[in-house]
């Protein structure tokens, strides 16, 4: 019995150590990013892993002076992500409501066709999209970075799954009170589905914010670039150009910390919707 107890204790300890170790491995690169952002560009060239010899805000300052274009790109990213998130979540919620709470001809078939398109990865249609937007003369605009990111089948699916759980009696009693369809939607459905709507908004925002391939192709002009595309361009290997790692890390902090804060404030809801989205297959 005593041996068993000891064994249990050791097992417990091993589990604990594993967990803590993994947490450290997860956090270390992020801490390194923050620490490195407090070094100057010149110090980063000799010391890119230790504590700063001099803690300085020089790299952050450079974001607003020499590399002020980065702030502009950050701003572009915010506009693109916010517009896409608001429009995308709105149209997904409308569609999800129709799928969840109305009976109409073609409901099943339209829904399953939409789900089937999830198998087509967005990369496959990039050439088609590129030509489409080129014809509209929208390459190198903010619009070309926003429009294709708006509709997302995953969003419709996730929000619908949640709405299935909203009691239909709630909707019917609103109707008896004389509320029209749109009013029911605004006053009953949106408040009841608020948890999923807000966590989908975060997921959508993250998705657009982190987008790289598409903007790399369609946003090659400085004034409309998102920060995800411009940040790596500072690691230039052109002769005579020294990579400004301090600035890059300050930029990385700038575009990670807001997301981390928003995520932490909504962690539970977001992780739950991640599960909802993953079991679609």
């Amino acid at each position: 019995m005593e041996r068993n107890l000891l064994k249990n204790k050791i097992e417990y300890g091993i589990g604990m150590i594993c967990f803590i170790l993994v947490c450290i491995l997860v956090l270390a690169p992020m801490l390194l990013m923050v620490v490195n952002s407090f070094k100057s560009n010149s110090e980063m060239l000799r010391n890119d892993s230790g504590l700063p010899e001099v803690w300085t805000l020089e790299s952050y300052k450079s974001l607003f002076t020499t590399y002020s274009s980065l702030v502009k790109h950050f701003y572009n990213s915010i506009i693109i992500s916010i517009i896409s998130t608001i429009c995308g979540t709105f149209i997904c919620t409308l569609a999800a409501y129709a799928f969840a709470k109305y009976k109409f001809r073609g409901r099943e078939s339209i829904f399953y066709v939409l789900l089937a398109t999830l198998m087509i990865p967005s990369e496959v249609i990039i050439p088609g999209q590129y030509l489409f937007f080129a014809k509209l003369k929208l390459i190198n605009t903010l619009a070309v970075q926003i429009l294709p990111t708006i509709p997302a089948v995953v969003g419709v699916y996730m929000i619908r799954q949640y709405m299935l759980g909203i009691p239909t009696s709630l909707i019917e009693s609103a109707k008896i009170d004389g509320a029209g369809h749109m009013r029911t939607f605004v006053t009953i459905i949106i408040p009841s589905a608020k948890p999923i709507i807000s966590s989908y908004m975060i997921l959508h925002f993250l998705d657009v914010w982190q987008n790289y391939t598409w903007p790399l192709l369609v946003a090659t002009k400085q004034n409309i670039m998102p920060i995800m595309v411009s940040l790596p361009t500072l690691v230039d290997s052109v002769i005579g150009f020294v990579p400004v790692w301090g600035t890059i890390m300050a930029g990385s902090v700038l575009c990670s910390i807001p997301l981390i804060i928003v995520f932490l404030l909504n962690q539970k809801a977001v992780m739950e919707s991640v599960i909802l989205g993953s079991i679609k297959g």
């Binding site: 947490c23 496959v124 030509l131 962690q267």
Partner: protein
């Protein structure tokens, strides 16, 4: 009466239409168009010239395509197994009752997902530089970016770091769906922890594990930003020897060969479909048991 009836009938379509319009215009139409373009030779202007399957033929006989596939496969082999083991172990620890207090720390493991792949690649350049964190901590001088194999390992490490938290969350959900009575019974019967993992939990979670491996394989095929940014030539793509297959698509668009680019895209789609079918049949097989 009749009029209101019709009005009632079109209401759901009205709710649906904004999404459907966006989806048809920005997804379905470009998808069909890129399939048509893949059968033509098109430079982005003038008339598209019908060439049939020639683009597909050319891509399939182009060694860069196969190197890309091989690289992507290498990335998958290097990261998937390790990642699943870590995700599974962490999920097992967190979901067992003795570690209840850890469940509030779950969120830490998910944090890397919030960091963009672009930023992750930039951060890890400092971790694996010649006097970077890794080499300093372990007192070694491994030239991570001088050698293709080592660079691929770095990419795999970034993939594990960024993605394992996602599967961890999925696995935790899977484990909570395992009936606790079965676990309790096994403890009473004197099963060791290892026996419990291999004889009860893994068999019960087989479908989720298979699903995870294949979905992760699909996302490996779509890999793009990390392997390119990690070698860091802005605008330019990483050398063929480590480049993922997506590089061929991007390169063809940059050079204005839209037919070729589309063909690469649809070949990717075919491979993804095959993986999806494998996943579905694999899951169905075990459901019969």
């Amino acid at each position: 009466m009749k009029v209101t009836n019709i009005r009632e009938k079109i209401i759901p379509y009205l709710f649906l239409s904004p999404f459907l319009v966006f989806f048809l215009v920005f997804f379905i139409y470009p998808a069909l168009n890129s399939f048509y373009i893949s059968l033509t030779s098109y430079k982005g202007y003038g008339q598209a010239k019908w060439v049939g399957w020639k683009n597909y033929h050319a891509i399939l006989h182009y060694d860069v395509f196969w190197t890309g596939i091989r690289n992507v496969l290498t990335y998958w082999v290097l990261h998937a197994g390790v990642m699943m083991i870590i995700s599974f172990t962490m999920a097992f620890i967190v979901s067992s009752p003795k570690y209840q207090k850890l469940s509030r720390l779950k969120v830490i493991l998910f944090l890397p997902r919030v960091i963009a792949p672009t930023v992750a690649a930039l951060i890890f350049r400092a971790v694996f530089s010649s006097n970077g964190l890794f080499n300093t901590v372990f007192g070694v001088t491994i030239p991570w970016f001088q050698n293709d194999t080592l660079t691929k390992i770095v990419v795999a490490i970034i993939l594990v770091w960024r993605d394992f938290g996602y599967w961890f969350v999925v696995f935790v959900a899977g484990m909570t769906s395992v009936n606790p009575e079965i676990i309790d019974a096994s403890i009473v019967d004197g099963a060791t922890t290892m026996q419990r993992i291999f004889r009860i939990i893994i068999p019960l979670m087989k479908n989720i594990l298979k699903f995870a491996l294949i979905i992760d394989g699909i996302s490996s095929l779509r890999l793009f930003s990390i392997p390119n940014i990690i070698v860091g030539q802005p605008g330019a793509l990483s050398p063929t020897s480590i480049g993922p297959v997506m590089n061929l698509l991007v390169q063809n668009i940059q050079q204005g060969s839209f037919g070729r680019a589309s063909a690469v895209g649809w070949l990717l789609f075919i491979m993804i479909s095959i993986l999806t079918v494998i996943q579905m049949t694999a899951v169905r097989d075990t459901e019969d048991l």
